[in-house]
Symmetry: C2
Subunit: 547 residues, 2 copies
């Protein structure tokens, strides 16, 4: 044991470090891994911030992204929006400090939620090129503010230089930053694809991309309807943990536990609070919430789970909407068939409201071309309208697609059919698996809900596919009948005497066509064919009589 090292010896190395140092060393956790992915992450962070800001400010977004290759091998990214801008007083902390922002603590639906992304880009520029990020912000009040920004890695504080303020009409945010270790390409994980998918889920946004070649792509605004502003909501009783309840109770201004519960939680009427009080007689509901003990809070949380609750209010959730999804899918994939389903809002972890929109597209350009050049099933994942481009393997949406027995929907192998499954997870809190925000955690209630939404549209697709087969069957039958039409009309013409066979043939063809235009190929239809034949027969007789 002579070789053993003492614990005190080891702990001489003990150090504290900042969250910036942490992410500097673990940059892949912010999505900065791989040259193509890193560039997509940069554009993703900036555009989600722009879209969120416009949505909150009630502005129809116009976003321009420009990517340039510089002679020294660096890549310059410029992004400009027409959003509300960031006040100069907050710009530093918004873009040059991690764990700070307007979104983290608010219980409302937004694309960003972590207060890391923007500052992460500033950090990534600085650690790969040593350069600051140039910012321009205008609130639309006739003044424009510009500055250079870096992050102090040790203290997690913004370092601002070259500030200027001048008069001008610019409203919005413009960011100009240089990066090394990134690469522009048009692969399925690149910036072009990312913006295309963003446009699909945000038809109210006008997005322009200028590629390093100078080529310009405009993803046109398809809808002038400004999405409803996101609203903050009260937490639902079923979503609350004991820890949260204690925390909120100790911070509240309410004087009585019962009124605190009613004021704080959605769907908590005074009748419900009374019901709850009866279930936990050991807790005095008149007590000051600041004195709520852990064991009391735990008893309340357990009692909450035994009661029935109205689902959380749906008005805080902002789905894309079935019409917009269908329009986008038809527009981009030109499929034979599309079906969209929108599930009712549900809760996960007991009480975080969420809802799932799913769609399926079949045929046309649906699906993707796999590495062997064959058509293969594709999964298009979104969370709050943000395309999820990476880490699909560990995402709840992928898991849901995998858990479906596709044979039951007449899809022999998902990987071998021209089918695109689209799913958008909508929530005030998206439980991402990592800070890179590319995959939704595979919790059972989430996976199940996504699965149900997809199963609904898969059933619609199955009806379509079966109809198509029936249609093909009918088509075959029609061809057989048609084959006899000519012969029949000759015979009829013979019988009729003065009638030309061409006219009779035309009439017969018309009748058959009319019959097969209708989608339903039922027994009733078959009867009508019989009727039609009888009519022809009658006509025959009429003509005979005239003879």
């Amino acid at each position: 044991m002579g070789d053993e090292v003492n614990g005190s010896e080891i702990f001489k190395e003990f150090k504290e470090y900042s969250v910036v140092e942490f992410f500097k060393k673990n940059r892949q956790m912010l999505g900065f891994a791989g040259k193509v992915r890193s560039l997509t992450t940069i554009v993703h962070e900036y555009t989600t911030n722009s879209l969120d800001a416009c949505e909150e400010a009630g502005i129809l977004p116009e976003i321009a992204v420009k990517v340039e290759d510089l002679p020294d091998g660096h890549t310059k990214v410029t992004i400009q929006d027409n959003g509300p801008g960031i006040p100069p007083s907050h710009l530093g902390k918004a873009m040059g400090m991690m764990l700070a922002g307007t979104k983290f603590h608010r219980y409302m639906q937004q694309r960003g939620q972590q207060g890391i992304g923007g500052a992460g880009c500033t950090l990534f520029s600085q650690i790969t090129t040593g350069k600051p990020t140039r910012m321009r912000s205008g609130l639309g009040d006739g003044k424009v503010y510009e500055c250079d920004m870096k992050i102090d890695v040790k203290s997690n504080q913004p370092l601002i230089s070259n500030q200027v303020e001048y008069l001008g009409n610019f409203r919005g945010l413009r960011i100009e930053a240089e990066f090394a270790d990134v690469n522009y390409d048009k692969s399925e994980h690149g910036v072009y694809e990312y913006l295309k998918r963003t446009a699909m889920a945000n038809p109210h946004a006008q997005i322009t991309l200028i590629e390093p070649t100078g080529e310009k792509h405009v993803f046109q605004r398809a809808s002038d309807r400004i999405p409803e502003k996101p609203v903050e909501i009260q937490p639902h009783p079923l979503g609350i943990t004991t820890g949260d309840l204690v925390d909120i109770a100790h911070r509240t201004d309410s004087r009585k536990l019962s009124s605190f519960l009613c004021n704080t939680f959605s769907r908590m009427s005074s009748a419900k609070a009374d019901e709850l009080a009866k279930l936990v007689p050991t807790v005095n509901f008149d007590k000051n919430p600041k004195d709520l003990k852990w064991s009391e809070a735990e008893a309340i949380v357990n009692a909450i789970k035994t009661l029935k609750w109205i689902a959380p209010p749906t008005d805080a959730l902002r789905p894309i909407g079935p019409d917009q999804i269908e329009k986008a899918l038809r527009n981009i994939l030109s499929p034979e068939f599309v079906s969209v389903s929108e599930r009712k809002p549900k809760v996960f972890r007991g009480g975080v409201p969420f809802m799932v929109e799913a769609a399926i597209a079949y045929g046309g350009n649906a699906g993707r071309t796999n590495s062997e050049g064959e058509r293969s099933g594709d999964i298009t994942r979104y969370a709050n309208r943000v395309p999820l481009m990476f880490d699909g393997g560990s995402c709840a949406i992928t898991e849901a697609v995998k858990n479906i027995d596709w044979k039951r929907y007449d899809i022999r192998e998902f990987d071998k059919e021209p089918v695109t499954v689209f799913a958008n997870f909508v929530s005030v809190h998206v439980p991402y698996t990592g800070t890179g925000k590319q995959a939704i955690t595979t919790e059972e209630e989430i996976v199940d809900e996504i699965r149900y939404a997809i199963m609904k549209v898969a059933r619609d697709m199955q009806v379509y596919l079966r109809g198509k087969i029936r249609e093909m069957d009918k088509e075959t039958k029609k061809k057989i009948i048609m084959r006899y039409v000519k012969e029949l009309s000759m015979d009829l013409s013979d019988l009729a005497g003065d009638s030309t066979p061409q006219e009779i043939e035309k009439k017969l063809v018309e009748m058959v066509e009319t019959k097969y235009e209708r989608i339903e190929g039922s027994a009733e239809e078959a009867e009508k064919v019989e009727e039609a034949k009888e009519e022809v027969g009658e006509g025959e007789e009429d003509e005979k009589e005239e003879e």
Copy 2:
């Protein structure tokens, strides 16, 4: 535009928050998602800390884990090791503060590296049960320290209470904590499986588990050899980014750029530094490193990439070793066939040294039973001997297995064969995709290296499988020959007269058996069979003569 909200209005909501608040809201990022996974994460964080501490202190680890279901639905986890302990002065920050520790800033191979895990467990206990974590630490100096610990969520500082110090012989760390929202089960993602896999990759550790049922499992120490202590290494020139070079240069005590380079980086001889100086004539290598500009550093980093370098020193990497891996796989899977490969150390991102150990096991209990009850290929992933149990879909090891064309190795479908692929990624810095540390980022050079290691053992397996087929062919031939042995011996006996047919049959069987015992089924062998037949024939004649 009357409905638009002003930027100043929105930024009234701007707030800063602590890293603890961040992980409290995003607990899934620490691996606390799902009841089974959360419990595995807890045991994982505690045991990796114990194994690291023992390794650094040169102690053969003995770790005891106990999981108990409490009457109130909580789960109690107790873990005790015989490690070096944590000095009372540091215990608070080690287990009650995030982003602090002995590992983050040191360039050496360890299981933990982030300084979040232990404090993450303290936080998870506190937010699910409101209770503190009980700690006992002894450095082996006759004194024992105990305390209760929580984290102050707002300030990321430890909250310590009920401290006692007393005399005693305890050396090591003992942690007792209660959790809600966790569940013990024996699934492939549970604690039992996690500890079994840990034991596989750490044969020097003795690990005991007591399940909630009271059942006790001992994973016996299989090797008394204490692994070599991890050592800190100098960074390799190829791994350095411009940002790192500027940072280190500005902090160094060296007075000249040239000596700074030689003192700081591995494989940087003064001859190499001279070579470098010639490549970047614009930079004065006699200048004070504190004055190194970004553009100069960038020029040096670019020049470094054009030179040839000796690979980083391998002595800092601590692989498990082929013998230990083979022993472990044979022990746990009882396979027909095992092959282990250990690749030479390589670098990723230009200069972080890493190496890959891979193994393949075929037959026996290799592979896994899939949901349809069929035998299926299995991937056992490790990073620095730590089993990776979750998020396999986005891991470099899984990616490497997927990228292999298994048909080339006579495996028609990986998912349908009794085969286990084992891979251990060994590095001073494991690039995990997330804070949950369950998947290695899929960077090309990493995936490729893992793939090569697996392809090597796959080739060995192919040789084995082909041999087996040849063996089966031979077996078939042997059976055919044997079918005629009886008949032949009767005939020979008839011809020989005094010889009993049993004796002749015995001789013939012996001859055939001897021939087929040999593994090589070559043309030479076939000739020997012919020879053997001739001998029999000769014997026949001899006997005839005697007649």
